[in-house]
């Protein structure tokens, strides 16, 4: 069981490599380094909100507002820049916006007990509306183009933005594996009552998860704006669903308690790669959503089949063990009965 779960990220990674190789037999241009770099580059936004989403799904929750949070944070970021704030302060504003939105969700869910899907769906509408209210429905375009420097400047032909996120991901991965309280997310998701009885602060853990989802959405907003240099009204629209798809694809179990940051990273890469592969296979772009949906469906059903097989095997093993124990017991009794 453990081995399979542990290798789930590797399995999806292998699938990703296999897919790229398969497409390369049709169109060899896929294997050019610049193509691969571009795939990574365009997956950054999804990757960040997926990492945030991961914390929530780990605790067996769900957050469908992350895309809207990213949109709202992007608007704040753009407005702050246009108002003449220095870049670091504007970035801080975007992050704080994300954190505030996430905490608002968390308050409704943890403090008032509103079901996560209802709370975040309501918030989705609210944040999207707020975005339009703040901008009057028009795009934010006159942002100083210097913010694109991170996305445009390349080191070893890889954009600095990609390097930055790569470092961030590695640091996060190390941190997450070192900090003991990170295990709380897993414990709460796996068994809420059990975690409570172990003395884990369940409510604080859940609150943190939604707040982190917001924070990472804010970070994603900075990346997005940095990459394209303006803020369209559709920023982040539909991305919440893709973020959920990405983490599930990467092996974060919806029943909570399994998965890691690599799940989010690989899931996001996979989903972005699919879009690129469609282009190389000359499939019209209008089919992208259908393919993403089919892949998500296939993965969750496949995941169910794996889990069922594992569980059946465990049950069979336990049954065999009980059977053996019974036999041992009988055998132990026999000499005594014979003596009687």
């Amino acid at each position: 069981m453990k081995r399979i779960v542990k290798s789930r990220e590797l399995l999806v990674l292998a699938l990703l490599v296999a897919m790229i190789l398969a497409v390369s037999t049709v169109n060899a241009a896929v294997l050019r380094p610049i193509t691969l770099i571009n795939i990574v580059n365009s997956s950054l936004f999804l990757m960040l909100i997926a990492i945030g989403q991961m914390f929530v799904v780990l605790t067996r929750g769900i957050d469908v507002s992350v895309g809207a949070i990213a949109g709202l944070a992007a608007v704040i970021f753009g407005l702050a820049l246009n108002a003449g704030f220095p870049l670091p302060l504007a970035m801080l504003a975007a992050l704080v916006t994300g954190l505030a939105c996430g905490s608002f969700n968390a308050a409704g869910i943890v403090v008032f007990g509103v079901p996560p899907i209802i709370m975040t769906l309501g918030a989705l509408g609210a944040y999207r509306g707020l975005m339009r209210v703040l901008t009057g429905g028009s795009w934010i375009e006159s942002i100083p183009q210097s913010i694109k420097s991170l996305a445009v400047t390349r080191y070893q032909s890889v954009p600095l933005m990609v390097w930055a996120i790569a470092v961030l991901v590695v640091v996060l991965a190390v941190l997450l594996s070192r900090i003991k309280s990170v295990r709380n997310f897993y414990a709460v998701g796996d068994n809420r009552e059990g975690a409570y009885l172990l003395g884990i602060n369940v409510r604080a853990t859940e609150f943190t998860a939604y707040a982190l989802a917001g924070l990472f959405s804010g970070a994603a907003a900075i990346v997005f704006t940095g990459q394209i240099g303006f803020v369209p009204m559709q920023t982040g629209s539909g991305q919440e669903l893709k973020a959920i798809a990405a983490v599930v694809l990467g092996g974060v179990g919806l029943m909570g308690g399994t998965g890691s940051i690599w799940s989010a990273v690989i899931g996001a890469l996979f989903l972005t790669a699919i879009d690129s592969m469609m282009i190389f296979l000359k499939v019209p772009g209008s089919w992208n959503n259908a393919v993403a949906g089919a892949v998500l469906l296939a993965v969750v059903v496949f995941d169910y089949l794996i889990r069922r097989t594992v569980r059946n095997r465990q049950l069979a093993m336990r049954a065999a063990e009980m059977h053996r124990a019974e036999e041992d017991h009988d055998r132990a009794l026999q000499p005594r009965e014979a003596a009687r």
Binding site: I62, G108, F112, G113, V114, P115, I117, I118, M119, L121, G122, A123, L124, G125, A126, R128, G129, L130, R132, V133, G137, L241, I244, A245, V248, L254, P284, S286, W287, N288, N289, A290, V291, A292, G293, A294, L296, L297, V300, V301, D303, Y304
Partner: protein
Amino acid sequence: MKAASLLRTWEFMLAVVLVLELIVLGLINPSFLNVENLLFSTSDFAHVIIAAVGLTLIIMTGGIDISGVSVMGLASIVLGLAFIAGAPIGLAAAIALAVGIAAGAFNGAVIASTDVNPLIVTLATLFLYAGIATGLPTLLDMLGFVAYGAGGFEAYQYEGITGLPKSFTWIGSGRIGWVPMPLVVVLVFAAVATFLMLRTRFGRYLKLIGVSPAVAHFTGVPIRRTLVAVYAINGFTAAVAGLVLTAYLGSARSDLGSEALLSIITAVVLGGSSIYGGEGSVLGTLLAGFVIGFMRQGLLALGITSDVVPVIIGGLLVGSVALRIGLAKLNTRLANRAAFAAERMAVGGNGASLSNGDPH
């Protein structure tokens, strides 16, 4: 007992809210209270209520289906394409409805035969059906179907398929007496769904599954069959909603109804259905649908931009759920206190026997 009586009045509360809302809107703008205007403005949100009625049945079982909004678009574009390809409008509508039922039944089949969260299954099919709806015109082009018009089928993707016959658009813009057709469809669906829910074994099964799938299983409820059926019904209602909207707007589009998701779920939840299943009524959904719909109309009439409307609807959704949860908590507390008082009476005011047990 107390909870039951409170539940029974949730619809009553909604009716009161609806009347108050109409009065307030009427005071601000008297022309709003013109009966003909009022009836006809329901055509703007009839599709939301139709889809919400189907979703009510699903939420009753503790499930959810967010792919309905995609089925609306899918049904719409299928109808349009079938019509353009030369099918008579009746046949085209039948094909569209069949596609809706198939899409719903597919959701149900996956949900019933795996333990995957319905939200995730229908999230995947939300993408899948929306993708098929947008991709279908190009697929037909690629398969070499004869398309009318220079751009092929793909051109219809952006402008929608217009020129639907009068006999079809009548469903969207016609009326029987004073009542516009979309409202007639809404009322028929609400009546049939109420009958299903309250007067048939199927309705009992839905509630039983929602209360406890395990108990339902051991009681001999055919869970799989019931789930597939209820998701198929929701596919059907979503398709009908899509067709009514198509008829109302007079053009078939693949992205029809995609913004309705928030309103649909809000209508169901505000209508008193518990997202955890086992609780809810079609009447509540119907009333809540009107409350939301008229509120939207009223806000727009007051000059509030349509951007703010989702903020208010989202707030309504969260607020109504928080209110219900608060009421339920208050209720439990009151019941506990009553039970405690009753126990005290039973032991003759002698607190000694209670000191061992935990009164809460």
